[in-house]
Every structure is written in structure tokens, then in C-alpha cells.
């Protein structure tokens, strides 16, 4: 198991190295002059060639690409993600200040996808073909389909504008005002968790149906063990392995979802920062956010791998 984890760790580090190269190159491989990306077009127009060259030198753009990459990467290892073109400030602090907000919403949605999605999937597999299954499957199919921004708008219309039960938008720190924070995050977390809850339910259902046909489950039934023990101890324990693997991949979906949901609900997290930076063409932010998101996703996958190899002896001893 130790060598398995070590191998995965090395693999994750290699993937992260490729990620940094992609993020670095995606901005550099463009036909346009990178200095234009770091300044605004109007600033470039009023400057003469010497001034531009001086700036290129200041930003290190007169060096070779590999040298630039090494310098950029070295700065990131020191926790320096660069400077914003628009705000003229180092961006590291700004990004890390917004990270907890995105995590707050994301983790709640992630937990809900387990505590709601998996039981719904189990019920629907155990009561296959009955009304519980029909309703659960229908709702899960809606859940993996519904555009989150559309759901958000409908819920805002009903619960905020018409019924006036919940605020339309905004985010207050739970430390400042826990009750207001709770009211503010109900709708965004609900919209964010719909897809993961529905896909967990679907995956659990099909994994359970698969497992329920296995010989050892039939043996368990024939031994006269109660339904509860057969379902939870014999079936679910094995069915969860593929579900957890897929959950690990859903980190990236959750963060992707936060891009849209934070924009709809005007939540000052990383997702909205990504959209505003892209709109403002503030590439230092775009690069910084892309790196952090990719880091979180790769670490999430690594953690899932370790959990799976701990749960599944076939992988542990392979």
C-alpha cells in the first residue's frame, strides 16, 4: 500500500508540473505580445519603444521562455503569484482571502452529495421498479440536467423576490453574523449541490444493482441475515468504492460550478474573481486562480486514491 501511495504521489507531482507549464504557456503561446496582456492597450499605445523595452526588462519578458518559466515557477514556490495589471497590487493575498468562501460553499455541497445522494441511491436500488425508485430516478435525471444558473434564477424569483424568505444575493462571513450567513448560503449551496447529489444517487444506484447480483450477496441472503445487514454490510460497502472514485473527480465539477453560482449570487469567492479577472483580462489573476484550482483538484484526486486503496484490499495488495 505504501508503494502504491508513493507512486500516486510522484504521479500527482508530475501532473502538477505539467499544469504549471500549461498555465504558463497558455498566456505565452498567444500571437499577441505578452506585454500587452500585462498592461492595458491604451498604455501600450502612448509608450515609445524604449519605454516598452524597459518594461519588458522589468517584467523579465526579454529573457528566453524557459528562463521566464523558471523564474515564474520559482516565485510561485515562494508564494508569489505575481502582480495584478489593473489593481497594481500583488495578487497572492487577494486570492487566498477569497479561497475560504469558495471552500465554505463547496464543502457544504460536497457533504450534502454524500448524505443525501448515497441514501437516495441505496433506496432506489433496493426498491427497484417501485414508486420510490421511479421518483428518485426521475429527480436524479432532472438534477444532472438542470442548468445551475437557471435553477438559481428560478429559486431567487420564488424564495427571494416573491416570498421574501431569503436574501437575493450577497455573502457575510459566518463569524460576523452566523444567522445572516446561513440565510444567504441556503440557495447557493442548494444550487451547487444539486448536480453532485443527483450524480451520487445515480452512481450509487447502479453500483448497488451491480453488487446485489454478486454471489456473496446471494449467500448472505440465503444465510438468513436481516435485510439491513445484507444491504449495508455486504452490498453498500462494496458498492461505495466506485462511487467514492467518481466523487473524487467531482471536485473539479464543484469548483467549476462555483464560477457560475458565485456570479449569480454575487458571492466574493474565487469563482467570481475568476470571471471578473477574465472579463478585465487581468491575466495574473487568471493564472493564479487556475493554478490553485488545479492544485486542489489534483490533491482531491490523490486523497481519493489513498482512501480507495485503504478501503479496497484488492488495490492495497496489488
Amino acid at each position: 500500500m505504501f508503494t502504491h501511495i508513493l507512486r500516486r504521489l510522484v504521479q500527482a507531482i508530475i501532473v502538477l508540473l505539467i499544469v504549471t507549464m500549461l498555465v504558463f504557456l497558455i498566456v505565452r503561446l498567444l500571437p499577441s505580445d505578452p506585454i500587452v496582456l500585462y498592461l492595458s492597450q491604451t498604455e501600450v499605445n502612448v509608450m515609445n519603444d524604449e519605454q516598452l523595452d524597459a518594461l519588458r526588462h522589468e517584467f523579465g519578458l526579454d529573457k528566453s521562455l524557459p528562463a521566464q518559466y523558471v523564474e515564474w515557477f520559482g516565485n510561485i514556490l515562494h508564494g508569489d503569484f505575481g502582480r495584478s495589471i489593473l489593481k497594481r497590487i500583488p495578487i497572492t493575498h487577494d486570492i487566498f482571502a477569497r479561497l475560504p468562501i469558495t471552500f465554505h460553499l463547496g464543502i457544504l455541497a460536497f457533504i450534502l452529495s454524500f448524505v443525501v445522494g448515497i441514501p437516495v441511491g441505496v433506496i432506489s436500488a433496493v426498491r427497484r421498479g417501485r414508486w420510490q425508485d421511479t421518483i428518485a430516478t426521475f429527480l436524479a435525471n432532472i438534477g444532472i440536467t438542470i442548468p445551475s444558473f437557471w435553477l438559481a434564477i428560478i429559486l431567487v424569483y420564488i424564495f427571494a423576490l416573491k416570498l421574501d424568505w431569503l436574501p437575493v444575493q450577497g455573502y457575510t462571513s459566518p463569524v460576523t453574523d452566523f444567522w445572516l450567513n446561513t440565510r444567504q448560503i441556503i440557495l447557493p449551496v442548494f444550487c451547487m449541490c444539486i448536480f453532485p447529489v443527483a450524480s451520487s444517487a445515480r452512481q450509487t444506484r447502479s453500483a448497488m444493482l451491480e453488487v446485489m447480483h454478486q454471489d456473496y450477496v446471494r449467500t448472505a441472503w440465503s444465510k438468513g441475515i436481516t435485510e439491513q445487514v445484507v444491504i449495508f454490510k455486504h452490498a453498500l460497502k462494496n458498492a461505495l468504492i466506485p462511487v467514492i472514485t467518481l466523487k473524487g473527480m467531482s471536485f473539479s465539477m464543484l469548483i467549476g460550478g462555483s464560477v457560475i453560482i458565485e456570479t449569480v449570487f454575487n458571492i466574493p469567492g474565487m469563482g467570481r474573481l475568476a470571471v471578473t479577472s477574465v472579463v478585465n483580462q487581468d491575466y495574473a489573476y487568471v493564472q493564479g486562480i487556475a493554478l490553485i484550482v488545479a492544485f486542489v483538484v489534483v490533491m482531491g484526486n490523490l486523497a481519493t486514491d489513498i482512501i480507495i486503496s485503504w478501503l479496497d484490499p484488492r488495490i492495497r495488495y496489488a
Partner: protein, 294 residues
């Protein structure tokens, strides 16, 4: 013995096709999905000729209205007919969805095939690159690329294709690696078939069911991602009608004219739902073993 075997094989083939249709059409939702998809494609083709109003021409006298006999789904801020714009918006969704999925499938399958075929360090390099691509959420990757390249139809297609190609590469590599181990591949090799022939005749055809299912589901996912992009204002730009962009424009008038947002969102939902249902139906009919993988 030989005749017995081949005689038994013939009816089995026929019933396999029949079984496919029987399983595929057995569920109401799959049939519903097929009808919606066909309607969607037909609408995308003929919509410019059948819209009740010109979808791009403003009519300031009729600006911002709720549904009426003249405008079934109301009009937007500059008086364009919502129903006409939804009808024409189907073209944006279909062109981008099909374009991005085709491009992603070609690139992804190529990478996956190469990785599994050559193995060794080629496999490692390609698969780590694919892992790195998968570390970015599709919408974020598309957002970055569109921001850098500009938001023309071609660029949106390229951005969504790059966001989606990793899935095909992984599936293709995994499928080829497992199929390669089968006895019939060994048999073909021992009969003297070369690498290329084995790949083309014996390995690739067996990956097709999984690919068909993945492509169908990816069409829904890509249409959803395109809607997300245009909702954020970074997809296809006005005046071209795009469903996601329409939902966003309507958002400012939600209290008085909710239909402006709700109607185009409903169209997205219906089409994506149809592709998901048909994808499910295809998976169960083509190869039930793909459950849990796709």
C-alpha cells in the same frame, strides 16, 4: 460441428439487433428524448424560415412585454420576440455542441489510441498531459481560452473541445488496453495480422459502443457548458441568439418579466435532458457493462 456453430450464430446476430431496439425503446424517457432531439435538430435547420418575427430586429414599440397573443413568450429589452430568439438560439447550441464534441472526440481518441498503442513513455507522457487537462474544470478552462482568443463561434468550439478531450483520451486508452488482452486479438495476431490491422479491425470496433454513449452524453454536457459560458457573457456575443445569454439578459427584469429568463433556460434543460436520457438508453442497449463507467 462447424455447421452447427455457424447455424447457431446467424439467428443470434439478428436477435442482437432486435434486442438493441427492444431495450432502447422500452423506456418512455428514451423515446421522449429521441423525439426532443429530432425536434431540436429540425428546429435548428429550419428556424430562420419559420420564426414569427425576425429574431435580431429590435421593435422599441413592443419592448419588454409578458406573454401575449402577438408574442407568445413576450419580448426582451429592445422588443425582440423571445420565442423567435429561442428558436434561432437552437442553431447556436447545436453548431457549438456538435462542433466541440466532434473536435474533442477526434483529438481525444487520437491521443488515447496513440497512448495505448505505443505504450511505454509515450503512454506516460500523453496520460499525464491528459491528467493535467482534467485538473481544470471544463468551464474554467473554456473561460480562460475564450478570454485569450476572443469569443467567436470557432474559438468557443475550440475552447470547449480542449475542455472535453481528456474524457475521450482516457476512455479510449482504457478500452484499448483492456481489449488488447482478449483472446481474439491474440488469435488475429497469430494468424499474421499486423499491428495496424489488429487495431483497425479488431480493437477499434469494440470501443465503438462506449464511444457512442460518451459522445451522446457529452453533447448534453457541452450544450450545458456553452450555455454557462454565454450566461457569463463570455460565449457567443449579441446580437446572435444564445440560450445562456438570454437567461442572463432576462435576469435584470426577473421580478416583472420572469419569462425572459425562464423560457430560454427551459429550452436548455429540455435539450440536455433529452441527450442524457438517450445516452442512458444507448448505454443499456449497447453494453450494460458500461454502467458505472459512463
Amino acid at each position: 460441428m462447424l455447421t452447427l456453430n455457424s447455424a447457431a450464430a446467424v439467428p443470434a446476430r439478428v436477435s442482437e439487433t432486435r434486442r438493441f431496439f427492444k431495450v432502447f425503446f422500452s423506456r418512455g424517457f428514451v423515446v421522449f428524448g429521441m423525439v426532443i432531439i429530432l425536434g431540436f435538430i429540425i428546429l435548428a435547420i429550419i428556424s430562420p424560415y419559420i420564426t414569427p418575427y425576425d429574431p435580431d430586429v429590435p421593435d422599441l414599440a413592443a419592448r419588454l412585454s409578458n406573454p401575449s397573443a402577438a408574442h407568445w413568450l413576450g419580448t426582451d429589452t429592445i422588443g425582440r420576440d423571445t420565442l423567435s430568439r429561442i428558436m434561432v438560439g437552437s442553431r447556436t447550441s447545436l453548431v457549438i455542441g456538435l462542433g466541440a464534441v466532434t473536435l474533442a472526440a477526434i483529438l481525444g481518441m487520437g491521443l488515447g489510441l496513440m497512448a495505448a498503442y505505443f505504450g511505454g513513455w509515450v503512454y506516460t507522457v500523453i496520460m499525464r498531459f491528459v491528467d493535467a487537462l482534467m485538473a481544470f474544470p471544463m468551464i474554467l478552462l473554456a473561460l480562460m481560452m475564450v478570454a485569450l482568443m476572443g469569443s467567436s463561434i470557432i474559438n468557443v468550439i475550440i475552447a470547449l473541445a480542449v475542455g472535453g478531450l481528456a474524457g475521450y483520451a482516457r476512455l479510449m486508452a482504457a478500452q484499448v488496453l483492456s481489449i488488447k488482452e482478449n483472446d481474439y486479438v491474440l488469435a488475429a495476431r497469430s494468424l499474421g495480422s499486423g499491428n495496424f490491422r489488429v487495431m483497425l479491425r479488431h480493437v477499434f470496433p469494440n470501443t465503438v459502443p462506449a464511444l457512442i454513449v460518451l459522445i451522446t452524453m457529452a453533447l448534453g454536457g457541452t450544450i450545458l457548458a456553452e450555455a454557462g459560458l454565454s450566461f457569463l457573457g463570455l460565449g457567443i456575443q449579441e446580437p446572435t441568439a444564445a440560450w445562456g445569454g438570454m437567461v442572463n439578459t432576462g435576469r435584470q427584469y426577473l421580478l416583472s418579466y420572469p419569462i425572459l429568463s425562464i423560457a430560454p433556460g427551459g429550452a436548455i434543460m429540455l435539450v440536455v435532458f433529452a441527450f442524457n436520457m438517450v445516452g442512458d438508453g444507448l448505454r443499456d442497449a449497447l453494453d450494460p457493462r458500461l454502467r458505472g463507467i459512463l
